[in-house]
């Protein structure tokens, strides 16, 4: 299994009581709560953690993109990727962002990603996302145009990377007389493309057809297994052989000496993430037009509620893995076989987890978990789909 250190870079000094009172840490939660001196410290703390992940033997590091929120301090992930491009020496560098529809000129992503691919001499992984609903409030972009803009921007970027320029691009939302991106990407034909999603079936199908890596965000493992099976079914229909590396599960892992100790230490920090930093209203998460009508009906039928989730709930549901080294190894192996993924996007820092605990967690994962999974592939019937 491949391990990526996935960082959300939360503003972990946020006033959680104020967020609770306000109802959300997104869009309308005032940036008065942001202290630049503390924030500057955090940027360096988190970048140091990414560099540590590289030295500890993680296969890669992942950045993220969200706007106007204490949940994550990475509205422009390329800035941090630029900082890491020279200090992360060995590991891959992934941006699990650029929310393409938010941009009025998505060609800047073709440029930015090509630069990062050159800087890292081909260690870059290119993520393309739509951004969550809240982004459409934050950036003033029409959510009802999101899917069209995403499709156009994606096609334009791939063409900019693979067709010699200059050429003209004429779309419904974007129009350029001269597409002639300098530099061209380092990798051929372009960096690997990863598609993170909350589990939209149309996105999963599309990623499978395009041979892109599909990354499942925060979800119970049983649901993850279902989505990954859909991906494998689509791969089978498309008639090609997919690697289990193309399925990436975004999780959280915390390792301590015993299960009880792990939960005791991680609980307040994990619950700050789940119940404070992640919380938002349905109107914010799913603005009209963001999802197609069938998806909205499914989401409503599923009765997704904002009920408080304890650390123990999340462990039981297989959203996160926490415990002694032995427990974490057992659970991860069980989940790998159940869902058939071979890439783990692991948050080692989460919520308000401080630096010393994060680094101890990373050390423990590197020593106690990584070596046991280095050559381990998903086992059982699920693997057959990759044949």
């Amino acid at each position: 299994m491949k391990f990526f250190n996935f960082h959300l870079m939360p503003y972990r000094h946020a006033d959680l009581d104020a967020i609770e009172k306000h109802g959300t840490a997104w869009v309308t939660y005032s940036n008065r709560d942001y202290d630049p001196e503390k924030g500057a410290e955090l940027y360096h703390e988190y970048l140091d953690q990414m560099e540590l992940a590289d030295r500890l033997g993680f296969d890669g590091v992942c950045l993220n993109e969200h706007h106007q929120t204490a949940y994550g301090m990475m509205p422009i992930p390329g800035v941090l990727a630029g900082a890491l491009a020279r200090s992360v020496k060995r590991a891959k560098l992934a941006i699990l962002g650029r929310a393409l529809p938010l941009l009025n000129n998505p060609l800047v992503v073709a440029e930015e990603y090509a630069m990062l691919d050159n800087l890292t001499r081909g260690r870059f992984i290119a993520g393309f996302v739509r951004g969550i609903g809240a982004e459409y409030h934050a950036m003033g972009i029409n959510p009802a145009h999101s899917q069209e803009r995403y499709a156009e921007a994606h096609d334009m970027i791939i063409r900019a990377w693979t067709e010699p320029g200059p050429f003209q691009y004429v779309g419904k939302h974007y129009h350029f007389n001269y597409v002639n991106t300098w530099p061209r990407p380092y990798q051929k034909p372009h960096p690997p493309i990863w598609i993170p999603s909350q589990g939209s079936s149309s996105t999963i199908r599309w990623a499978a057809q395009m041979k892109y890596t599909y990354a499942q965000t925060l979800a119970p493992i049983a649901v993850v297994a279902k989505f990954f099976q859909l991906y494998r079914d689509e791969v089978a229909k498309a008639g090609y052989a997919a690697s289990a590396d193309q399925l990436a599960w975004s999780n959280t892992i915390y390792v301590a000496e015993t299960d009880a100790q792990a939960i005791r230490e991680a609980k307040p920090h994990m619950e700050a993430l789940a119940n404070k930093l992640l919380k938002m209203s349905t109107e914010m998460l799913l603005p009209p037009g963001y999802s197609n009508i069938d998806s909205i009906k499914r989401i409503r039928a599923a009765k997704v509620t904002g009920k408080v989730q304890t650390c123990e709930d999340l462990i039981r549901a297989g959203v996160i893995i926490m415990g002694s080294p032995n427990t974490v190894r057992e659970k991860l192996a069980e989940y790998q076989d159940l869902a058939g993924f071979n890439t783990s996007l692991t948050k080692t820092q989460f919520g308000t987890l401080p630096d010393d605990m994060t680094r101890a967690n990373m050390q423990a994962i590197a020593q106690e978990i990584l070596p046991h999974f280095r050559d381990r592939l998903p086992q059982g019937k699920r693997q057959a789909a990759a044949e």
Partner: protein
């Protein structure tokens, strides 16, 4: 002279898509939930940014030269009724009807009062004709 009737309810766009929805009594049963979701999507497409208003509208409203009735919900929290009176000042000869106990969608929330307001308006026009 055939007069064209212009009716501006609070959010003309939202209202018009709502009115366009097939009503009760149609031959096939209507999935109102589905219609509602479609309305929301269309409304977002039309009014997301700027959010629900046209910053240039005040320059154009004076050009409306047909009988105009502004129907507005008393408790509209999306576009408070002050807008109705602002429109009235800008549209020559226009009238305002405020519907009590009503939010943003008079035609859906207070259908009878909405229809009564329309009928009253038509009657005054018949008299005038």
């Amino acid at each position: 002279v055939k007069k064209i009737l212009s009716i501006i309810t609070l959010a003309a766009t939202a209202a018009s898509v709502a009115i366009a929805a097939p009503g009760a009594g149609a031959a096939t049963p209507v999935d109102l939930h589905h219609v509602n979701l479609k309305n929301r999507t269309t409304t977002a497409k039309l009014i997301w940014q700027p959010r629900g208003y046209d910053p240039h509208l005040h320059k154009w409203l004076h050009r409306i030269d047909v009988p105009t009735l502004l129907v507005w919900g008393d408790d509209d929290r999306l576009f408070p009724k002050d807008y109705a009176f602002a429109y009235q000042r800008l549209i020559p000869g226009s009238k305002v009807t405020i519907i009590p106990e009503c939010g943003h969608l008079p035609q859906a929330e207070q259908r009878q009062a909405f229809v009564a307001a329309l009928e009253g308006f038509f009657d005054t026009m018949k008299v005038a004709a």
